[in-house]
């Protein structure tokens, strides 16, 4: 549920990057932080372990500017992908407006991707949400791996119905990072416009 602050004339959205451990969620936020001009971004906050695995979340606020007199802002979060941090993942999903699911193209991560997606469904269920209700796109990351699985194969596992937008990416090189963010943001904005 987007937060609309009429007095400060602000509309705020929360976008969460979800996916299995090491799929590249934090890399997405770091790349966005590096490539967005200074006046449009705030500080990036990372709560991570010493070996740079996400422990609680990464956070990056983005400022779109004014639309119809309302300052429009996106708050981007990543969750920790490691299986045992599930209680943190659930907390981060609170109030989510849109999800980018970051999948890993490595053959030995296919199962981890599928399990992470199932875990996302379970955690959304705690908030009475389903992926069907929520603006949601898939980023297929690490396309540069020499043994990267074919797109269709990963898709058939993560989105058998073929209805979810899928974007190929090499997040570490800032390829395919902007497109899924734009796509999910657009879905979020359209959803709010429909409701109004």
């Amino acid at each position: 549920m987007s937060t609309i602050n009429f007095s400060a004339r602000e509309i705020n959205f929360k976008i969460v990057y979800y996916g299995c451990g090491l799929s590249g969620k934090t890399t997405n936020l770091k790349q966005i932080f590096e490539h967005v001009p200074g006046e449009s971004k705030g500080e990036m906050v990372s709560l991570q372990t010493e070996d740079e695995r996400t422990l609680f979340f990464d956070f990056l606020p983005l400022d779109l500017g004014k639309v119809n007199g309302f300052k429009t802002r996106f708050h981007l979060y990543t969750v920790p992908g490691q299986v045992f941090y599930n209680s943190s993942r659930r907390l981060i999903l609170r109030g989510v407006d849109g999800v980018v699911f970051v999948a890993d193209s490595a053959p030995n991560r296919l199962r981890a991707n599928a399990e992470s997606l199932r875990n996302l469904r379970e955690n959304l269920d705690e908030y009475n949400l389903t992926l069907g209700d929520l603006p949601y796109v898939i980023q297929l990351n690490k396309r540069d791996l020499p043994d990267a699985l074919p797109v269709d194969m990963v898709r058939s596992v993560l989105d058998p119905s073929g209805t979810v937008p899928v974007f190929e990416a090499v997040a570490a090189e800032f390829q395919g990072v902007v497109e899924p963010l734009k796509a999910v943001s657009k879905l979020v904005l359209e959803k709010l416009a429909q409701k109004a």
Binding site: T3, E43, F56, Q175, K182, A193
Partner: protein, 167 residues
Amino acid sequence: MLEPSLDLYGETFERVEAVLANLLVKSHGRYALIVDRKGFVLAHQRAVWAPKPPSLDSLATLIASNHSANLAIAQLFGENAFHESVQQGTDVGTYVEELGSEALLVTVFDGSAALGKVKLFTKLAVERIRELLAEERGPAPTLNLDEGWSDGAVALMDGLFGKRTQP
């Protein structure tokens, strides 16, 4: 609605800001913020003498997540919540009170304030804000999001990153 947000608008908003300003005067706190459970700042005030605050977005996000983590810890032990939420460093501390189920009131203070006063006046401010929110008020404003709105937002989005297409 999934996440009821605190309805602050019009005159109520100004009165809530005045309550926060008064809280700072009485407690000698530096900053007072109302933060929703998602980590967004709904209202804030800064004491005239206080140094420039750090990023309020970061502060609000960390306060809200920390609070929800503490709540989850309390619930592991069958508690509804922990009653006190104070953090104190050498120079600066924070005190957090729940403002209904939707939001938190945070007072940031330093060594020039007495913790007892910070707690007392933060609690009083919470009560006062609850009263203000319970009063009869005019209807909430509605958002006028015509068709052009999401197009306008998408155009800004394009501007933010520069137009680019899928490689």
